[in-house]
């Protein structure tokens, strides 16, 4: 469990980092190292070079930019858990952070690393898809903004090119309520299935908006806007959540692995989703 030899670069600016990424053969970004380093130790990843971005203070802020929060790619899980701005404008992120790993992992791991790593059972990618986050990505030659729905391609695969770096993530502020429910075999483990929701119920008790995303069931975070729309205009009540959860469970084709069969994941998705919808629709104290 020792990594193969690699060269190591420690840029002091984003510009330098992007330069390295476009010039150094086989370079990979090192952020919190919580996914990359174990993979290197197991020799499942063998980058020729690491570009350590931990010194790029340009990427460490959480900013209120009006209708959104802009979060630097290097912001650690732990900070997302504590930040008053996040709690206020993206409360679901703060809620989800409690489910990610253990304190030691959260104090190193980053939002950028979590999204770029694209583990299908990770929480933040699910929230990114649910919340229509925008990912601001740069290479030495261009900057582009990718919506989360287009970012994840497959297991551990995103649209990021090798010379690109995720700089910031724009999270539209939410006024709706949300909930994340998951089941992991042990606290701190990656979940078998994750259900995240956000629901807006009008004064008359009718659903105005409903979003649903699942993690751990397919190779990328799962979302289906057609099903979401079926909820709109309906009375927010348990029978609705039951129907929607059931519809979703019928619509998905969950993965099968060592720990859970497809049928088990389907049931988990249905149960967790129903809980997450029910909780999201609960009237909250102001």
């Amino acid at each position: 469990m020792k990594p193969p030899a690699f060269s190591y670069y420690r840029p002091e600016s984003v510009a330098q980092a992007l330069h390295l990424l476009s010039t150094v053969e086989g370079a990979k970004i090192l952020a919190g190292g919580q996914s990359l380093i174990p993979m290197m130790n197991m020799r499942l990843a063998r980058p020729d070079a690491l570009v350590d971005i931990n010194h790029l203070t340009e990427l460490t802020s959480i900013q209120d930019v009006g209708d959104a929060l802009e979060i630097g790619a290097l912001v650690r899980h732990d900070e997302l858990l504590r930040s008053p701005l996040v709690r206020r404008h993206a409360p679901l992120v703060a809620q989800a952070e409690r489910l990610i790993g253990h304190p030691a992992i959260r104090s190193r791991g980053t939002i950028g690393g979590s999204l770029a790593h694209a583990d299908p059972a990770a929480e933040l990618p699910v929230l990114a898809v649910l919340g229509d986050w925008e990912l601001i990505v740069s290479s030495q030659t261009q900057t582009r903004t990718i919506s989360a729905g287009d970012f994840f391609l497959s297991y551990f695969v995103t649209t990021l090119a090798p010379e690109e770096m995720l700089l910031r993530i724009r999270l539209p502020k939410v006024s709706t309520y949300g909930h994340i429910a998951e089941y992991a075999i042990q606290a701190g483990d990656f979940a078998l299935t994750i259900a995240a929701t956000s629901v807006d119920v009008g004064p008359s008790g009718v659903v105005r908006e409903c979003r649903i995303a699942l993690g751990g069931v397919t190779d990328v975070p799962w979302r289906d806007k057609t099903i979401e729309r079926q909820a709109i205009g309906q009375v927010a009540q348990d029978s609705l959540w039951k129907d929607i959860s059931h519809t979703v469970a019928e619509a998905i084709d969950p993965i099968d692995d060592l720990h859970a069969t497809s049928a088990y994941r389907r049931q988990l998705a249905e149960a967790l989703l129903r809980e997450a919808l029910h909780r999201a629709a609960q009237p909250k104290p102001a």
């Binding site: 469990m1 020792k2 193969p4 197991m42 089941y183 060592l258 088990y264 049931q267 988990l268």
Partner: protein, 758 residues
Amino acid sequence: MTTTKETWVGRGIPRVEDPRLIQGLGEYVSDIHFPGQWAMALVRSPHAHARILEVRTDAARKLSGVHAVISAVDWEDLRQPLPDMKPLSPPALAYERVLYVGQPVVAILADDRYIAEDAADLVEISYQPLTPVVNVEDARQDSVVLHPEFGTNILDYVNFVSGDGQEALKEADHVISATLQMGRVSAQAMEPRGIAALFDEKTQSLMVYHATQSVHRAKERISTFLQMDPNHVHVIAPEIGGGFGVKNGSYPEEVLVSYLAKYFAHPIKWSGDRFEEFLGTYQEREQTHHVQLGIKNDGRIVAFVDTYYQDNGAYPGGGVLVAHNTARNLMGPYRIPHFAIHCYTVMTNKVPQTPYRGAGRPQGHYIIERIMDRAADELGMDRIAIRMKNLVRPQDFPYATGFPGVVYDSGDYPQTFQDLLDIVDVSAFRVRQQQARAQGIRLGLGLANYVEISAGFGFEGVHFRLAADGRIELATGATGQGQGHRTALAQIAADTFEMPLEQIAVVEGDTRRIDKGIGTFGSRTVIMAGNAIVIGGQEFLEKAREAAAKILDVKTTDVVYHQGTFSAPGTSAKSLDWTLLASELQRASHSMPAHEYYFYSNTATYGFGCHGVIVEVNEKTSEIRIPRYVVVHDGGVVVNPLLANGQVIGGVVQGLGSALYEEMRFNENGQPITTSFLAYHLPGAVSVPDIEIHHRNYRAPGNPGGYKGVGEAGIIPSQAVILSAVEDAFRDQGLRLNYAPITPGRLFQAMHREEAKL
């Protein structure tokens, strides 16, 4: 003797080991750094069963920092079988064929482990894959025989019969049958295995630092393999981060490091990593039992018949012992007048089995407890009542179970079980269970009894010595791995010598300090080394009195020893304490009193007890939570309740692992597919409940100290009790569980009658 109130034995004092360990000052094998030492890494077989066609090492050899790339092709000595693994011992490095994934094929010595692993990547081995045999059903057919020279995959078969055996089933009103299984588990001590060796050319002696549970047996194996005079091999176990049985046996790495350190006359270290711990460290538990229980209408057991197969992996490891010990535990604490047991140890293309905490005790109890549940269910009888009906009663002692050499001797099984029922408050629970069900929550209660058979063979010794500073030093070959022996044994010695604990120093795990030793496993150390202190201590005191007599210039018979002081009442002599005795002896150039005593005993001890667990099952997620876990436990005379509780709690936690989460899984090619903690789940602090422990202290009649084993009490009935409780939660549906662990995935399948796939 001092009064009970003043004894050290019985006090829950914190471990004397703690200050060092907690501050990170403990020295483990990984902390041993010989100047210039080379690191060893191994190329392990990626195939479960294959012929080795060619081993190409040139590229690896050329890598800078690599000192040697070693395979059995060129190193004939390393084709030698590992010592102590008859009748089918693997060569130190695989030669011509590999029989399990993880078997070492090539050893690399390099400046550090990084380079050694880089070199390992460069070794090219061509294999011709052979048909892997990955389960006992296939193995038993012998259509592919792992060891052609042995002729069959059945490594061992024994049968045990008592009374009329199988015949007695005819007398039963009902015969309950079931096939019950247990998956494989891996011990996963916090510290992986490791070993470092240094050869001294001048003295031609080999110094080995070894994370082993038995320094003396390691010394024997190493000197056998190296054909060295055992007097020139010294084995030291530094601090060890958990052993659980699997650091006890014969492993390739042990002889490789020792052999190569001597061959190159250069210090070598191998620190196993977590991956190697999953691949190469021996495993346990995997068995399939076909059981029949004959009972009368009133629930009385008439006969027990069991044919079982242990999936032992490719070599013996220490597995046959596990299979036999399973048989010994199949009766549990119940009166079973007739039984017939057929026990097969079967070889497959997996890493071998070796005793892991419990070592057959959990397996045996899992079977008897589960089949009793099944019998009660089929008769429509209460699961408690059937147990009460069959428990061995106090008037039955001494009670011979019918298994050779097993005679239960002490305690009150029915009363202790009743105590557990009262503590759990079964009737109140049944009411809560009903109420909970009405709210969609499933609660279940599991109850199981056990006997913890400990020690009963061999010896353990203590070397006593008065040290220059007046402390009494005790060296023992029973090497601890975190149990707190340096505290517990010192407590026994402090009572023996009527001295404060600080005056006693316990030295473990150093073959230079005591001639012989067997080691720490099977909950034996306090029983064996503890009694060696109790008895040998008196003999040492006699020698100390002789020494004191010389200094005091009186007859030995005049010397009286009381609470740390030697005096000669009725003479004019002054009195001496140990410190003064030590300094006077040194001044007079007399030798210091020393004494070596070995306690031999073939009398096992029989601790016993019962576990009660309440589970809460979430039907939607298949999550099993444990709101309550109660253990009533007899450990005889308990030396240190804090340490004993630690043992019981630790055992329960490991038991919850093998009951709920832990399983080594292999695919159809014999590839292990749970080789990291991502896939192999240990119980975490969050999911482990507070464990309530209630002690019963029935003195062991078979040894002077009255001690019994405590190390396995926590793990013995854990699989039985959890599966029982989960079934109870689904009693209305008649849920039946035949496989441990009951993981969430498996529970889902059981609930939905899904084809077994996980």
